[in-house]
Amino acid sequence: MAYGTQADRALRPLAAAWAAMLVAAMLAAAALQGIDERYRVRAEQASSAHAGTPTGDARDLGGRRFEWILTGITTLGLLGVGAALYRRAARRIRRELVRLESEIQTRTQTEHALRRSESRFRDIAESVPDWIWEVDTEGRYTYCSARAQEVVGYAPDELAGRTFYDLILPENVDRARAAFEKCVSERRPVKDLVNWRRRKDGGTVRLLTNGVPLLGKSGEAVGFRGVDRDVTDRRRAEDALRRSEEKFRLMYEESPLGLVLSDVHGGYLEANPAYLRIIGYTAEDLSRLTFWDITPPEYHGREYDNQLILRYTGRYGPYEKEYIRKDGSRVPVLLNGALIESPEGPRVWSIVEDITRRKRAESELARVQRAEADLRSRIQQHLLIGRTPERLPGAAAAALSVPSEQLDGDFYDVCPLQPDCFDVIVGDVMGKGATAALVSAATKNALLRTLTQLIATSTCGSETERREPILPDPARVVQDTHREVTPQLIEVERFVTLMYARFRFAPHPVVTYVNAGHARPLHLRRSTGVCTFLEGGNVPLGFTEHERYEQRHAPFEPGDLFLFYSDGVTEARNPSGVFFGEDRLRAYVEANHWRTPRGMLEELRREVARFIGGEGFLDDLTCVAIETDGPQRPRTVELAAAYPEMAHVREFANQLCDDAHTDGRTRDRVILALHECASNVIRHGYNGRADGAFTLEGRVQPNRIAVQLTHRGVAYAPAAARTPALDSTREGGFGLYIIDQTTDEVWYAPGRNGEQTVSLVWRLEPDEHREALRTDEAASRTKR
């Protein structure tokens, strides 16, 4: 319609022109008529002027009117014919225009559709991950989608004019050409052809090719159109999957770990060869078993726990158990497992490791560690610490050495030198391990050698004059030892803290000591029950070669106690990192003032262990306790191991209680305990033999009574006095219980020369203590 309208519009000027020409023609005719009329009037006027008759003009005027009408009619006729012709022509033109318009519209629509189709094709071709191409019958590319760049590395422009043979691996070209030519001749499509191509970068790419022949007008193939898909990755993925499957199959088959799939009730579903080897059953056996059948009964409880854990956490283990093998033997295993969901229900995959060898190795390791600990202990016992005699001139001694888990450098020794004199040496080498132990041993050796040499020197030449050699001062011993060992200590970058103390009782009781950077010993005064530290101001050995060691003096009273210790005591730390410390140590000693040296140290060990929360001492716990004798002399009696002697035992106990001015409950306890102890020696120690004997040595200190019973019978040392049935059901077994209940300390220990000792201690009550002190003072005043 638009085109028709336009045609009308185009015809309108033509029609207007036509009409205008007609009007112009008419106007021209009229004008010519008018002009002619005017010329005729003028001529008539001129002729009349000359002749003057009007008759002939009127006749001409009528003829002219006729001509004019004729002309008009003719014109009108022409106009009519023209109009008819115009209409006809216009109709024809209009029809032609409508046809043209329709044709143009169809063509435009086709072109639009084509353009859309092309665009779609192009979009698809560019967006699919495949390379779309067209080749002619020679295999020459006539179209390539942009994906070619990604697939083979060539841009579509670069491929234009090249054949696909250029991309085929040389060895495959002939085969590819033959195949392609056959497809062309037979107009056969190419389907799922896997082939390798060379990439522009020299690499290869594996393609899956599909194509269809393009047919000419007569049905002949004029080319191919198709798609190449890069399947290199897929192949790789397939290969990887295959390799992975192979790997896992190998792992399953060849793994040294047992792999087993079971249901949640323990029924076996699958097991690898390693698992079968561990348990010694065949796969066929397994189908009739559950893991309960091969789990020893003592592990059943743990297995139930594991099932719960598995249900709530989806995992179990690692945990160790044993399996009962087919041959009845047991095999230790380590298990781990996980719950998995399968279409058939929940399943359990377990990994089972045979840990027989590990267990053996652990056992071997434990044996080696025991041997090592033993060696360590022997080094410590023989090289670093001396055998502390319980009795020293004028004092009782005890030593405590709790080795840490490593070899440490603590050392000590107690050397009785003269009837009223002995030395105490306590030292510690900085650091741990074998070096520390060796340095420690060397230092101790140097000290003792120095002491011996100095004593020997002082004795020479003066032997005739003096019975006792003059002992070298502690300062001299330490100074000479320092001179000998410090250069070596500096060389090995170690230093040694040392406390060297000499106890003398005559003419006055005094301790002379040198403290070379060691922990400050404690001095407990019995008279006041108060502790003080022995101060000392020298640096450790090995610090500087120019140190001058000086000695100090600390007078003491009979019965006073001295505690020497290593920093392992004060530096023991509790789980919060708090040190045991000097203050806690002092408070402990004051609170336990009544104890014997041995009891003091044993209880200290328990106290430190309680403080740190266990026995795992990081550092050696080394202590030496020296208790000087009280003012009262010991009371001793030797008795035959026979029941009639029991009256003497009771008498001895009574005498001690008299010495201690104690009565009442304490006296009952002393008599009962001593009586039971002597009874035990007769009954168990000598088993009724009549030739036995035992000795009782009793000492009264201001704050306790202590008795040591020594015998040569069989040792009996109950670990703990068990509480007997305290009703009428048993008539015996009360002895040890009574001893335990009626003493404050009791020790069973081997003595010297195959003797056995039992030490019994009773703490005197504070009022008894004061009473005893008063009496002692009165006695000493009387003596004076």
Partner: protein, 128 residues
């Protein structure tokens, strides 16, 4: 070991004439007691002279108690010293034995017990 056995009504009073009862004399004590208490229904052991008892002596006393109880009889103790009592208390035997301060007190306890028994049950056909 010497025991002095007396009869006070139906009560057999055994006076231990030793100042100690311990491992040294318990065997004699057991033998002598075994004879003295055989078939007795009411026994009073007077320990006034005994100043010391040890675990063996205690065991011997327990043995007596069991023997008398097995025969359906009753054992009481009297005259124990402070020291002996402290041992009894230590091993809780003061709860097992019936202990009285004096012989009279113990005999009164026996008499009162006998009266109670007679009130509660018909008299026995034969006097013990």
């Amino acid at each position: 070991m010497k025991l002095r056995v007396e009869q006070s009504g139906n009560v057999t009073v055994i006076h231990v004439e030793s100042n100690h009862l311990d491992a040294g004399n318990t065997t004699q004590f057991r033998n002598a007691m075994s004879e003295a208490i055989a078939g007795r229904q009411a026994v009073l052991i007077d320990l006034t002279d005994v100043q010391f008892v040890d675990s063996s002596g205690l065991g011997a006393l327990l043995s007596c108690l069991r023997q008398i109880s097995a025969d359906g009889g009753r054992l009481r103790l009297c005259g124990i010293s402070r020291t002996v009592r402290s041992l009894f208390e230590l091993v809780r035997m003061h709860r097992v034995f019936e202990i009285h301060g004096s012989r009279e007190e113990a005999l009164a306890a026996f008499a009162s017990e006998r009266n109670d028994d007679e009130g509660a049950a018909p008299p026995p056909e034969e006097a013990p």
